[in-house]
Symmetry: C2
């Protein structure tokens, strides 16, 4: 393995709200940062121009000459095999050739790696966070949506198109409620923040004087003992438990790492989740799976995009599992 300790990766984290960029070193440090709001409702070229501004700002730093690769984590779906992205919340980008556009923007010579945002978060948690040292792990973001990624045999497993680990859209309730993806009873349809809030409201929970109807407000009510609020989190926990158990049963994982806003609910989510996981992860080889909160915060997307590129290019010795 060629290990270049002075090399940097220019990382991009592209979401429906913001486009973040950074130069990341082999220790996972963010040396230079840039950010623009995502013009999510604009035409393809306008969105790409914002990406270009982020890259230009990074390129003005003296450290840019040490950049060896570009790593992109993008809201999905992505298609890493074609280098295209079609983020649900950026309708102007459909099969948009992001890899080619970025490669051209940085001079045509740097290798460019693309993965989905769930895979990027997973690369970060495996490199520097709660999944470190685990050869087989699922990492998840539970937030407005539910995303994820997999580490198998000590390495990130992005899958051929960079989308593996999409746990939010596996069905755990085959006759359940219709999901916007077209299927029924998906984990996301039950466990995402908006669905936790909706279910609480439908069951009679009422927001406080401030009118906050978010999952965070439901979590606060649950912590204060509100039974309806607790039940909505318990149902989300059940769906997450079934999804994590399915993953452990299908690919054998040691840990499931959970980040994202909904994970901020803490024990209101994690206590019933650990309890229900015992109900669904029953086979000997799956029953030991542990649930851990994510360690990296909002920089996980940038750190992970860099880690994914570094792994693909064997740029740094990103630590393997045991």
């Amino acid at each position: 393995m060629h290990t270049d300790h002075t090399g940097l990766v220019a990382a991009l984290d592209i979401g429906g709200t913001k486009i973040a960029g950074a130069l990341v070193d082999g220790g996972g440090r963010l040396l230079v940062r840039a950010q623009r709001p995502t013009p999510a409702r604009e035409a393809a070229g306008t969105v790409m121009a914002a990406v270009g501004e982020v890259l230009d700002e990074l390129a003005r730093s003296a450290a840019w000459r040490r950049v060896r690769a570009v790593g992109i984590g993008s809201a999905g779906p992505v298609d890493a095999s074609r280098g295209t992205v079609s983020p649900v919340n950026v309708p102007g980008w459909r099969a948009f050739p992001l890899v080619d556009e970025v490669r051209e923007r940085v001079g045509g010579l740097l290798p460019v790696t693309l993965v989905g945002d769930g895979v990027a978060m997973t690369a970060a948690e495996h490199w520097q966070g709660a999944a470190r040292g685990h050869a087989n792990a699922l990492c998840m973001v539970v937030s407005t949506g539910v995303g994820g990624g997999l580490v198998l045999d000590g390495r990130l497993h992005p899958g051929p198109t960079g989308n593996a680990g999409h746990i939010g859209h596996i069905s755990v309730d085959l006759d359940g409620d219709a999901c916007p993806c077209g299927a029924r009873g998906c984990v996301e349809r039950i466990a995402s923040g908006p669905n936790i809030a909706r279910r609480a409201l439908d069951s009679g929970w009422r927001p406080g004087p401030g009118g906050d109807r978010s999952a965070a407000a439901v979590a606060a009510a649950a912590r204060a003992g509100d039974a309806v609020a607790r039940a909505s989190f318990a149902r989300a926990a059940q769906a997450l438990a079934a999804g994590i158990a399915a993953t452990a049963t299908l690919v054998e994982i040691e840990v499931a790492v959970i980040g994202g806003g909904v994970a901020g609910a803490g024990d209101v989510l994690f206590a019933p989740l650990r309890e229900r996981l015992r109900d669904y992860a029953t086979l000997s080889f799956a029953s030991g799976v542990r649930v851990l909160p994510a360690r990296l915060g909002s920089d996980a997307g940038l750190v992970g995009a860099a880690a994914a590129a570094a792994q693909e290019l064997q740029l740094w010795a990103v630590p393997a599992g045991r």
Copy 2:
């Protein structure tokens, strides 16, 4: 890779009914065979004695001197990391040290590889059958139970304990019927042969004059137009579709290969399965997954046990994916 074209693998396929053995060459041919009934209700030593008789019979062949390894596919659960097996239908074997016992029986010098029977069948279909040439595949046996295995990135993915791909025990109906495994709504609880037959009987289907109450009899009735029989297969197909879609969404597979007795129902199973798969495999990277019938018959376990050992030891150039 060291490729030894003259080397053989002594393969064992251990199930609740029979213990089969064969010497397998680098072309997947079975040169010598031996078989004993499994004394499934007897003590551990009696079961192992039957395995020993199979090995002894193989060892009496002139070809035995070309054996370079032993490959074992066993009814699960297995623990490849410890070399032990605990087959559900062989109660005398609980954490039974099968790898050590077999190694000793063959003289202590040959390497011994252990995988679960679903993983073995997958290795066979990837090497010689319907999954050949596919870098990412799920192979399943739908029979008395539902088992399976995975090919990822062109290689068999047994997982750390040799149990990965256990699709029969992922829950696709989190509030569904209790499964003997302890969970609820598992794929096997809905789609196995006995459950197809039970559901048809519970819904008013009656066997013909011969009194055959098996899933094969339900399949015959379905082909003859019986609506209740068709509905029971359709429900099994729906559960299989949700499970295959979950696998495609979690790890990105191109094909799902289905063998086993229930797959013998043909279009009664495959037609509704392909239709429902479109309902559940909705994301762009998962929607292209194809369902194929398995090509290898009852020898798949032996061929696959040999292939799994050959892959682990890099004994033959078992063909990789595309």
